[in-house]
Amino acid sequence: MALVAGVNIPDNKRVEVSIQTVYGVGPSVAKRVVEEAALPGNPRVRELSEEELNRLRGALDRSGAIIEGDLRRDVQMNVRRLIDIGSYRGLRHRRGLPARGQRTKTNARTKRGRRRAIANKKKVGH
């Protein structure tokens, strides 16, 4: 386990995949960072030397990507702004419902969490 970008610890996957466990690093940033770090032969993280790891960390720092705490704070602040100005989207965030006009009669489970049983809910008959 190696430490990249503060607390994050990737494992024995290929570097490009492994660093995607960092919040804010997806396929695109990962690819750029790995190229910049110039690691020969698409290695797995456990095969990296300490010097190569440092090169990887440096490349990630220089990538200009907003990651981890900073990104979480940015997102949090965007949501808070919507709530503070009293907009419809802020309202939906406050309620924990989808904010972009999706249906909520069914689905929207990601945002609303697990199903809760409703007493006496009748089955829709045919």
């Binding site: 702004r81 100005i85 009293g86 907009s87 309202l91």
Partner: protein
Amino acid sequence: MSRSIKKGPFVEEKLMIRVRRAQRASSRNVIRTWSRASMIMPEMVGLTIGVHDGRRHIPVLIGENMVGHRLGEFAPTRTFRGHVGRSDRTTSIR
């Protein structure tokens, strides 16, 4: 898809005229409008605009960070009073 930059932001003409007049006179009267689709412009900051919700005009005090949003976003059109038989968190009007 987002709106083409060529067209510029949409604001109802009449509303914009009234906004300019109000700013010049620095009047604090509520400007009532039905134009929920109009974009909030920097000129509107500090004014109170009555945005129609289908029934009444909801007074909305325009702040700086509202610029770029639509007027309708600040006047909800639905009042959800909870589902039948759900005692907790019913009658909580937004």
